[in-house]
Amino acid sequence: MTQAQITFSLNGEQHQTTVDPRTHLADFLRHGLGLTGTHVGCEHGVCGACTVIVDGLPVRSCLMLAVQVDGCTVETVEGLAEGDALSPLQQAFSTHHGLQCGFCTPGMLMTLEAFLRATPSPTEQDIRIAISGNICRCTGYQGIVEAALSVAATRADSP
């Protein structure tokens, strides 16, 4: 299969490379670029573990082909932290015990990161709906919801 050339921005850095068109974006990030923070949980678009942000929107990276990010801006979990410091959302996950095994966590973070940018004052129900496409088998979701609520509340306090 002929390779395709793509140019894209990833966590703020420009990349140019070739990809096999049938490789999905999650596999390309993980094995092509070595960014293994994005995880593959089901490969059929339900579990949400593979969620990344493309052009500002949360997407299931197992349902995008790598070749499709040509010209796009991609953000993964590796780009969330601010240098050595965890982002407020990441910190909140830890404070509120919103992760246990950590496998669904990058997908949860990227989904909530995109969601909270667009919806700064969500209710608890809004947050649960936002992550209704992300499966967690460990936490029962409560810690994740509390983490997102606390970030929203902090942002509301300091506009």
Binding site: D20, R22, T23, R30, H31, G34, L35, T36, G37, T38, H39, V40, G41, C42, E43, H44, V46, C47, A49, T76, V77, E78, L80, A81, L86, Q90, F93, S94, T95, H97, L99, Q100, C101, G102, F103, C104, T105, P106, L109, I127, R128, I129, I131, S132, G133, N134, I135, C136, R137, C138, T139, G140, Y141, Q142, G143, I144, V145
Partner: protein, 779 residues
């Protein structure tokens, strides 16, 4: 020694790595020259392999090798060793690494393809021609017990692999004089594991040292090593097994799997590293599933509802193999009598083979089944007599003043089981108070005004935790004054590293951040068992405590010698041993460690042994019993049959809590798993043993929009059976949850509604029940 960390809700040391995408799970590993494996799997439930034609596949681009079991004959052959040998299974029923003659469930692996990447391996696997002669398959455990049923294994005349019995005292006598006897039949569905990370293994052989190394997403690295050593006739010292970060285990990853063996064999044969990552479709047909059982039970009880005795029979669907022996059905028997002070018990379980994916312990093993049976029976008794459900419990529970209470049951090693501590009635009273049971009827009436049915459910349970014989830990202080804890215990998200660091930091008076924990590497710690059955906090946690105490004692002895002060006047704080009240008079742990690391020609002071370190194994087979009472409210839309759990309250006693944040997380996750079992998770097979639910569109896991907030109230009765007073907490959330939800659904449909002896339930079933209830009421 101050308990600064033990009992504190410190945030986890595991978190920063995992939150920044720096976790290292097995699929994150890349080794030079690594081959990618894909398995060819049987697509029928029972068949005899006639031919596997790999000729087209072998010629495909990027394919390096394709093996069947015959290709490994020079390295090893035969079935895999059994994980849990049992006298009732003299001939273990285990897989071959690759099926040799007969396949016995859809998904059983028959060949392994090795290629440059997974996509090419799958392309080749699709090009392999499997010629399998179809044999009759048996897909229902009850039917499998009947004469003339299709045989799950063509060479086994009976589908009943074993019959387990348990009981105590004279059950028939108690039934003979009982005021009341009821019989009920229960149907508990299997369901699946569904950790978010599927299984996976990377195997490689170092050509120089000839050490076979496996990194595997497993709960039992030491079992993998032990059984591989047996199978390959290779000394354990030449096998290294590690678990990297594991994305959830929940039980099935405690098994030793054929794929782990096949990948190891492939690595040996090719001389190259081999990686296999299970995909989700495979997970549905190749990872063990949960606890399918059909029970018929008689319960004998008094006029006032006190339950006296239970007897009955179970048909246990074990699936096509017994890789974990009889452990799963054994937990069903062992979990009786739960919190109930029964006079007598008589139970039999037929462990039945079917041509379905094998079952093995999943979060709670069969303890949730037993909680379901006991709690449904208690509700049934209440309904029969016309008293409150709570009253049956109050009259039938083991009382706090009866502790320690010898139940009449025997442990795996034959010793009598006694509950160490607990107040089941107090737990029930507390949960009823916290959910405001007194105000429930008013809430029910208000819901009825808006056309909804509200129900209140209750369920109690007792959980054996901390099963032995041991785990171990070593604690060492480095010359820099840092503390390294090493243990064989593996983790799948339970925060062990944090919990163990808390214990060690307290014992040695150091900062939590100065403690690192190494775990689950057979080359770094000599012995380990398995992370299962809510046992690690008890066993490994206690080991860390015992080892840390030894190190502490040694540091104090050294300082006492050096400072010429009595040991009783010394304390450990801020990384040093210092005189109480005179902090300036101290010896740092780092100095002690450096000194005890020795200098050529210099004797160690005070005749001490080298190394500021110690190893301990908490070696005890004394189970310690956690317990709890749960209550929940469900709201039913009578038109659609939708059941929503709108409130869930847990009262739980797991002894002392090392880290409340972690324990609460375990409980919440466990409850949600149980709610999933009650309302959503159904693994459907057709009559030919074909799995029909093999994607997440069909198999429904609980999501955030359908789950309630879960309130937790702890009772902390320290366990008298280990040095840190803890009891296990990993499964306590799941054990009563399905029972609690079903109890609530039944309560919502009122006294004319059906008795619900099964789960999962579905909206369409609820609609049918409501229609039946309404016609009964009208009649």
């Amino acid at each position: 020694m101050s308990a600064r960390y033990f009992g504190a809700a410190v945030t986890r040391v595991e978190d920063p790595r995992l939150l920044t995408g720096q976790g290292r799970y097995v699929d994150d590993m890349e080794l030079p020259g690594m081959l990618h494996a894909a398995f060819v799997r049987a697509n029928m439930a029972h068949g005899r392999i006639r031919n596997i034609d790999t000729s087209d596949a072998k010629a495909m681009q990027g394919v390096v090798a394709i093996y069947t079991m015959a290709d490994f004959v020079a390295i090893a052959q035969g079935p895999m060793p059994p994980m849990a040998p049992h006298p009732l299974l003299p001939a273990p029923i285990t897989y071959h690494p690759l099926a040799e003659d007969e396949v016995r469930h859809v998904g059983e692996a028959v060949a392994i393809v090795l290629a440059d990447d997974r996509a090419k391996a799958e392309d080749a696997a699709a090009a392999i021609s499997l010629d399998i002669e179809e044999l009759p398959a048996i897909a229902d455990a009850a039917l499998a017990c009947e004469a003339g049923a299709a045989r799950a294994h063509s060479n086994r005349p009976s589908n009943i692999a074993a019959t387990l019995k348990t009981g105590f005292r004279n059950c028939d006598a108690v039934f003979a004089k009982a005021d009341h006897v009821l019989t009920e039949r229960f149907d508990i569905h299997r369901g699946g594991c569904h950790s978010m990370e599927c299984r996976g293994v990377v195997a490689s052989v170092d050509p120089h040292s000839d050490v076979l190394t496996l990194s595997t997403s497993s709960q039992s690295p030491y079992m993998v090593r032990r059984h591989l050593a047996t199978y390959l006739k290779r000394d354990e010292s030449r096998i290294r097994v590690m678990t990297p970060d594991v994305g959830g285990g929940f039980g099935p990853k405690a098994n030793v799997y054929p794929e782990e063996f096949a990948v190891a064999l492939a690595a040996i044969k090719t001389g190259r590293p081999v990686k296999w990552i299970e995909d989700r479709q495979e997970h549905f047909v190749a990872t063990t599933q949960q606890r399918g059982q059909v029970w018929t039970l008689d319960v004998a009880f008094d006029n006032d509802g006190r339950m006296r005795a239970i007897r009955g029979h179970c048909i246990h669907d074990n699936g096509a193999y017994a890789p974990y022996g009889l452990i799963l059905p054994a937990t069903a028997l062992a979990s009786f009598p739960g919190p109930y002070a029964l006079e007598a018990l008589d139970l039999t379980i037929d462990v039945v083979l079917t041509n379905l994916v094998p079952t093995s312990p999943v979060r709670g093993a069969c303890r949730p089944n037993v909680a379901f049976l006991l709690e449904r029976l208690a509700d049934r008794v209440a309904r029969h007599i016309g008293i409150d459900r709570q009253e049956v419990r109050r009259r039938s529970f083991v009382r706090a003043d009866q502790m320690p209470y010898t139940t009449g049951m025997k442990a795996r090693d034959g010793s009598p089981i006694s509950y160490d501590s607990g107040d089941y009635t107090a737990a029930l009273d507390l949960v009823l108070d916290k959910i405001d049971a007194a105000g429930f009827e008013a809430r029910r009436a208000a819901a009825a005004e808006s056309g909804k049915l509200l129900g209140l459910g209750i369920a109690s349970c007792v959980e054996d935790t901390g099963i032995g014989p041991f785990e171990g830990a070593s604690v060492r202080v480095t010359p820099a004054g840092k503390v390294v804890v090493s243990t064989g215990a593996s983790s799948q998200g339970q925060g062990h590293r944090t919990a163990f660091a808390q214990i060690a930091a307290d014992a040695l008076g150091v900062d939590l951040n100065d403690v690192t924990v190494e775990a689950a590497d057979t080359s770094k710690f000599p012995l380990g068992m398995s992370t299962i059955a809510s046992r690690i906090a008890v066993t490994a946690g206690s080991s860390v405590e015992l080892a840390a105490r030894k190190v502490r004692a040694k540091a104090i002895a050294f300082a006492s010698n050096k400072l010429e002060v009595g040991e009783e006047d010394l304390e450990l704080e801020d990384g040093a041993v210092r005189v109480k009240g005179v902090p300036g008079l101290n010896v740092s742990l780092s100095e002690i460690a450096r000194t005890l690391a020795g200098n050529v020609g210099m004797s160690l002071p005070g005749g001490m042994e080298p190394d500021l370190a110690a190893t301990a194994y908490f070696n005890s087979n004394a189970l310690t019993f956690a317990y709890g009472a749960n209550a929940c409210e469900v709201e039913i839309d009578p038109e659609t049959g939708e059941v929503r759990v709108i409130r869930y309250v847990v009262v739980h006693d797991c002894g002392k809590l090392i880290n409340p944040l972690i324990v609460d997380g375990q409980i919440r996750g466990g409850v949600v798993h149980g709610i999933g079992n009650a309302l959503f998770e159904r693994m459907i097979y057709d009559d030919a043993g074909q799995p029909l639910t093999t994607t997440y569109a069909d198999y429904l896991l609980p999501m955030a929009t359908e789950m309630p907030r879960i309130e937790i109230h702890h009772m902390e009765t320290p366990s008298p059976r280990n040095p840190i007073g803890v009891k296990g907490a990993g499964e306590g959330g799941t054990i009563p949850a399905a029972a609690c939800v079903i109890s609530a659904v039944e309560n919502a449909m009122g006294p004319n509604g059906p008795f619900i002896p099964l789960h999962p339930i579905s909206p369409q079933l609820v609609v049918k029940w409501i229609e039946m209830t309404r016609s009964t009421a009208r009649a």
